[in-house]
């Protein structure tokens, strides 16, 4: 006799409980539904955009504290404030992001801000201990790119849900789409942070250590 499993796979009221066998198939069907999403080219591309829009954010948040302390000569508290300033500056850019999204479209805004973010981020190579003005200017401009990518990425997921509904003949799968998007974001950000950690360890940076004597 089949085992009855409850409550996670409880059937609608008035219907017989699902058997373990039936429940396994239902779970497999859900998993297949997630995989089925990735058959769509636009879903795959947007997941890539979402993930690779978030990964630089993970890298920046990890490295900025080291950058503040070991390059700019800030205390750890001051270095932590850099990220707070960056976040607040990002919020200040939101009206412009919103305006450009309506004027150019989300895809174009994402592309333009990612390009400008990559360019501005590359300029951190020129910043040295005494370049406080350049450092803070770059932080303030840089915040625009990260904010725009975050906002337009999620907005495009909403549009994709509509396109997916039309493609599948009426089935709305926003939960699955947002779930895969969040998974892609956090998964790739974790990989990026892991690689940064490996790179930092490889050159002698360890938690709580002052790397200066080892590096000089």
């Amino acid at each position: 006799m089949a085992t009855v499993i409850a409550p996670s796979g409880a059937p609608p009221e008035g219907r017989a409980p699902y058997s373990a066998h039936c429940l396994t198939w239902r779970r497999l069907a859900v998993a297949a539904g997630f995989l089925g999403l990735l058959k769509s080219r636009s879903v795959r591309l947007l997941m890539g955009m979402t993930a690779f829009g978030w990964a630089p954010l993970g890298v920046t948040t990890t490295v900025s504290v080291y950058f503040g302390v070991h390059v700019m000569g800030f205390t750890e508290e001051e270095a932590s404030l850099v990220m707070l300033t960056w976040l607040i500056a990002g919020l200040a850019w939101l009206p412009l992001v919103s305006h450009l999204t309506h004027r150019w479209g989300k895809k174009q805004t994402y592309g333009a801000f990612t390009m400008s973010w990559a360019f501005v981020q590359s300029l951190f190579l020129l910043v040295d201990a005494g370049d406080l003005v350049l450092f803070w200017v770059l932080i303030l401009i840089n915040a625009a790119g990260s904010m725009a990518v975050a906002v337009t990425g999620w907005a495009m997921l909403a549009d994709l849900t509509d396109a997916d509904q039309l493609r599948t003949g009426g089935t709305r799968r926003e939960g699955a789409i947002y779930g895969v998007g969040a998974f892609a974001q956090t998964g790739l950000a974790a990989v990026a942070i892991l690689l940064v950690g490996i790179a930092l360890s490889a050159v002698g940076y360890h938690g709580g250590d002052d790397p200066t004597p080892q590096l000089s």
Binding site: L45, D159, L166
Partner: protein
Amino acid sequence: MTIRVLMSLGTSVWMIPGLVFCLRYPLTTTHHQAIRTCLETGEGDRQQLTRGL
């Protein structure tokens, strides 16, 4: 120097795949508006609207 490279180029390099995906992404705002209209009113060629998605 390593920290500076990680903060600049080491971060920027992660944005390149996102840009490539963005260039190839087929759904524009105009296209999405047509899809919304089709969903709400039933107007428009469904097959044409979903082609390439």
